[in-house]
């Protein structure tokens, strides 16, 4: 076991390579599948294993940038990355994060930040998870009803369609997403999600992904891929700024990236075998777990909260890998059946 423990000279601690690989792999699978950075899994997990908090955040951001490159390459080949949309959003997102950070400073000055933000976080996560779950259940019901009546399944996200109809020049066609809307819509969505991310002190991937679906009207897979593109850019700059402040342990980040790259590749390929709404369902479950974890932290069960988030991350990535294996087997069976049918036709 000692052979698998290394000295991290920058964080100044002995740390297990296996734990770094495991954390990286877990968050890689979840990140590639949901289009998120996964800081809310990595940071408490590293910290609970003895990593100083500021180094945990910096090293997480560093590995996040590299991991998102792996996922973005694959999602790009799947046709899931809308570069134009991602580019439009990034200005709004970053300005929003700045506004959110200033709001936090104000809350700190009046002594409300710590308690208030965590409560808002819990309510926000609960509401977000509930909405995504409600949307999934509504879709399943509508699909069943449509199937029994022989009608087409109604188009989802009425709010997105309403927002797309707002005619505020310049109007832009986002061809990968199949959406035409005012440029101000993605900028505004970026701004709003940025403010929320800034206030809550998170990267914002898990807010942007549903926002892209429900407010802009992107297909789920494009929302996942485009969100990862943004995570890649913010992760790279975050790595730089934390690196300059000496808060990145590069050796730890490289080991985590080694695990995350494999996980991210598998998580990304798993989206091929899962329908968009199934991704949304699993996402809602993950959000509820994150909500429970923050609630436990609010109730001062710090250690239990970290254990919950890490074990939940492992469980969710296990489910994703299960879906991937089942999908590959199904694909191979279908291919074998097709080959047999073709052989029968020839003979």
């Amino acid at each position: 076991m000692d052979a698998l423990t290394i000295f991290l000279p920058i964080a100044g601690i002995q740390f297990s390579i296996l734990i770094l690989l495991l954390i990286g792999f877990t968050v890689g699978v979840c990140g590639g599948f949901f289009g998120i950075g996964g800081a809310w899994i990595v940071t408490p997990a590293l910290n609970s294993f003895g990593f100083p908090m500021s180094y945990a955040i910096g090293s997480d951001l560093a590995h996040m940038g590299g991991k998102s490159i792996v996922s973005t390459i694959r999602h790009g080949k799947f046709g899931n990355v809308d570069l134009k949309l991602g580019g439009s959003m990034i200005v709004g997102t970053t300005v929003g994060i700045e506004v959110g950070a200033r709001l936090v400073m104000y809350l700190e000055r009046i002594g409300l930040a710590e308690d208030y933000i965590r409560k808002v976080y819990v309510v926000f996560l609960g509401a977000l998870g509930s909405y995504v779950l409600y949307d999934y259940v509504s879709h399943v019901r509508a699909s069943r009803q449509a199937a029994s009546e022989g009608a087409a399944v109604p188009a989802p996200s009425k709010l997105a369609r309403r927002l797309q109809r707002v005619h505020l020049p310049p109007m832009i066609r986002f061809s990968t997403s199949g959406v035409t809307c005012s440029l101000w819509l993605p900028v505004a969505v970026g701004l709003v999600t940025g403010v929320v991310a800034g206030v809550l002190g998170v990267g914002g991937g898990f807010i942007r992904m549903p926002a892209l679906i429900y407010l802009v009207g992107c297909p789920t897979l494009v929302a996942v891929g485009t969100d990862l593109f943004e995570v890649m850019i913010t992760g790279a700059y975050g790595a730089f700024t934390y690196g300059v402040k000496g808060r990145v342990d590069l050796i730890a980040a490289i080991w985590m990236l080694a695990g995350a790259a494999v996980g991210a590749q598998l998580g990304t390929v798993a989206v091929k075998y899962v329908r968009g709404y199934s991704i949304r369902l699993l996402f809602a479950v993950t959000i509820f777990i994150a909500c429970a974890s923050v609630l436990m932290k609010q109730l001062h069960f710090q250690r239990a909260s970290s254990v919950l988030i890490l074990s939940a991350g492992i469980a969710v990535s296990g489910v994703i890998l299960g879906l991937l294996v089942a999908g590959i087997q199904r694909e191979r069976r279908e291919r074998a059946n097709l080959a047999r049918t073709n052989q029968g036709d020839w003979s």
Binding site: I10, V70, K77, T94, P219, G246, A258
Partner: protein, 111 residues
């Protein structure tokens, strides 16, 4: 600046030029909040010195030396190493998946 009429030779350049302020705004506005998130002053308890006394010569020692000598260079090294590692691993693993015989073409965006 007046936009040239369509089909004029300068139209391509106009497209390039109008992207520049947009890209610069993106980069600058990305910098501010992340720099903010990274914190202002360094914590007084933490000293940015890596202990290299027990490290044998190699990659870890090299990184620790850069960290001790120049933090700006270290920041750049972090981004370069992460981006390069991500790119290399991404390409290698992508090739690996192709070897598994999976169909990895464009996906239909069904819901």
């Amino acid at each position: 600046m007046r936009r040239p009429a369509p089909n004029q030779p300068a139209e391509g350049w106009w497209r390039v030029i109008r992207v520049v302020p947009f890209a610069m705004t993106a980069v600058v506005s990305a910098a501010v909040p992340l720099a903010w998130a990274a914190g202002g002053k360094s914590a007084t308890k933490l000293v940015n010195v890596a202990d290299t006394r027990s490290l044998p010569p190699g990659f870890s020692k090299f990184i620790a030396d850069v960290y001790n000598d120049n933090l700006l260079l270290y920041g750049l090294l972090v981004v370069a190493v992460m981006a390069l590692t991500g790119l290399i691993l991404g390409v290698i693993l992508d090739r690996g998946l192709v070897l598994l015989g999976l169909n990895l073409g464009k996906l239909p965006h069904h819901e």
